[in-house]
């Protein structure tokens, strides 16, 4: 959806606006309309109701730091998610608390054996989500950012690299490593919990 080849694209249409010129109010209004909804959803999945404040703060910080935005270096979307990720770093404790809650949520593990095959698929899916929530807690913050910017915000590796200011090769290697770890560790826990019955 985003063209990464254009280094000088400064129009709104390809999400690389020129923020050094006039009409900032209109441009930021368009940025808000285009990005605020998915951004809010991303923030809410990470830190719950704090997203209500953070979504506005992201755009205000973007406006204040607009001189740091270079349309040749990345899309506005990458830039905004980078700012939002920085803001999230102040709320890691809240995020971890939320993930712990998600790991414990809705229906105890001990109850599963009572449900037969009828609901097995559903149980497995929601059980996996809980196990994964617990595993996300143990990730390093930088790894969690790369994973969730990719999975929840839908950024590709280039955009994640732009957002976090790290090389795209590092994004790919981190993503690969963290996914491999989650596939192995989260399922280990799964085995144990079912084995504990």
């Amino acid at each position: 959806m985003t063209d990464h080849t254009g280094g000088d694209g400064a129009s709104d249409t390809d999400d690389r606006p020129d923020l050094s010129g006039p009409h900032l109010s209109r441009i930021f209004g368009q940025l808000f309309d285009r990005h605020s909804r998915p951004l809010h959803r991303y923030l809410a999945r990470r830190v719950g109701h704090l997203a209500d404040d953070l979504v506005g703060e992201t755009f205000l910080v973007a406006y204040q730091t607009r001189s740091g935005y270079d349309p040749g270096r990345g899309t506005a979307r990458s830039w905004l998610y980078g700012i939002a990720t920085n803001l999230l770093r102040r709320h890691v404790r809240q995020e971890v608390r939320g993930l712990h809650a998600a790991a414990r949520a809705a229906g105890s593990t001990a109850g599963y054996e009572d449900h037969e095959n009828r609901v097995a698929d559903q149980v497995d899916a929601s059980a996996r989500a809980r196990l994964l929530a617990g595993a996300l807690v143990d990730l390093e913050a930088g790894d969690r950012d790369v994973l969730l910017l990719t999975s929840w915000a839908g950024l590709d590796s280039n955009e994640v690299a732009e957002a976090l200011g790290i090389p795209v090769g590092t994004v790919r290697s981190r993503l690969h490593r963290v996914r491999r770890r989650l596939r192995a560790h989260a399922s280990n826990t799964e085995h144990t919990r079912s084995g504990d019955e």
Partner: protein, 368 residues
């Protein structure tokens, strides 16, 4: 759990499905967005009418260029590697691409280990006996509290009893031993900050035919680098070039260079189930892994000394540690090669050592 979805490692699709499901039930209140938009418009319109100078950024934007790290990484990696021949140092400048061949020193080490492995004797497991495999895994637990971060390595002991006949019952015992090494911060500081540092890994005892502890379906696994059944080992190519191609075909294709090949080989070697001939062939195949080099001539893994062979992906290095004098696989480790997320270059992020023996009964440890 009632179907075959329980398995040792989730598929990529299962992970994606779980990711989609976590915290998926959020909703966006239109009024929240309307208020945020109004606040933004007030700020931007004031900016336009007052012709103010741009405010100093209160928060550094993430697109600010970070300091170039290649020079520092290069120095750190060289320091970790120690004395190397000049040719190896030149190869060192390409850790990302991993296109450089394994160094001569690494190849020589593996050749020696392979020769010794071939000459070794796998201690036979007689009828009614069990191969005992003790895996001491030190894994990192990280507690990120926002402004403070804590990390510790905790020892997990996994003991496996594998019967002479693979189809019989196996046993797995997992224990978080309580042995710890604090890597960032101290226990007191972590407690004071409210971090929960207890638990984290499964403990208990499991029994299953064919060693299928992680699946409801028993004895159907055709084997893999992660679950190296006897049949799977028997089906591996015996020619080192062909085995290397097999490793390339099986390991995920990504831009981590040769590191993924090393990880897959380590998965198999760590199992403690690889026979000496296959072990020798794996060593020979590893000699073909791009970017492989001797990273430590005296690697100490929980008291056992060996030679570490590693590949660096720019953030981290994966090492396998072998004893070339005996051909034994001692273990593996991951070491930071750059300062990332509060971990300094040189920090050992995890390490695993493996010992094996033969015992007469399930659940019994070898004498001594």
């Amino acid at each position: 759990m009632s179907d075959d979805n329980i398995r040792r490692v989730w598929t990529e699709d299962e992970l994606d499905a779980a990711l989609e499901a976590v915290n998926a039930d959020v909703r966006t209140d239109e009024q929240v967005l309307a208020r945020a938009r109004a606040a933004l418009m007030i700020t931007t319109e004031q900016g336009e009418t007052q012709v103010t100078t741009t405010q100093e950024p209160e928060v550094a934007t993430a697109v600010e260029p970070r300091p170039r790290r290649s020079a520092r990484r290069w120095v750190a990696a060289a320091a970790a590697v120690g004395v190397l021949v000049a040719g190896a140092l030149i190869a060192q400048t390409l850790p990302f691409r991993g296109k450089a061949p394994a160094t001569a020193e690494a190849v020589a080490t593996l050749d020696r280990a392979a020769a010794q492995a071939i000459g070794a004797v796998d201690e036979p497991v007689g009828p009614g006996q069990y191969r005992y495999i003790a895996t001491h895994a030190w894994w990192m637990a990280t507690h990120d509290m926002g402004d403070e971060k804590f990390a510790l390595l905790a020892e997990n002991l996994m003991e496996t009893w594998a019967p002479a006949n693979e189809q019989d019952e196996w046993m797995l015992r997992r224990d978080v031993t309580g042995n710890r090494q604090w890597v960032i911060g101290t226990e007191e500081e972590a407690k004071a900050a409210g971090a929960e540092t207890e638990g984290g890994w499964p403990e208990g005892e499991w029994r299953a035919k064919c060693g299928d502890f992680y699946s409801d379906v028993k004895c159907q696994n055709e084997g893999s680098w992660q679950i190296p059944t006897a049949a799977w080992q028997a089906g591996l190519p015996t020619d080192p070039d062909a085995l290397f191609e097999r490793l390339q075909a099986d390991a995920p294709d990504n831009d981590r260079g040769g590191i993924e090949l090393l990880v897959y080989a380590a998965d198999a070697l760590r199992s403690g189930l690889i026979t000496k001939d296959v072990r020798a062939n794996i060593y020979k195949a590893l000699a073909k892994v791009p970017g492989l080099q001797v990273t430590d001539g005296q690697a100490n893994l929980g008291g056992r000394i060996g030679i570490a062979l590693g590949v660096d992906d720019g953030d981290r290095r994966q090492d396998v540690i072998v004893d070339p004098a005996t051909g034994q696989f001692i273990g593996e480790r991951q070491v930071m090669t750059d300062d990332v997320d509060g971990f300094k270059a040189g920090t050992v992020m995890q390490f695993t050592s493996v010992t094996t023996g033969v015992v007469d009964a399930i659940g019994v440890k070898p004498a001594g």
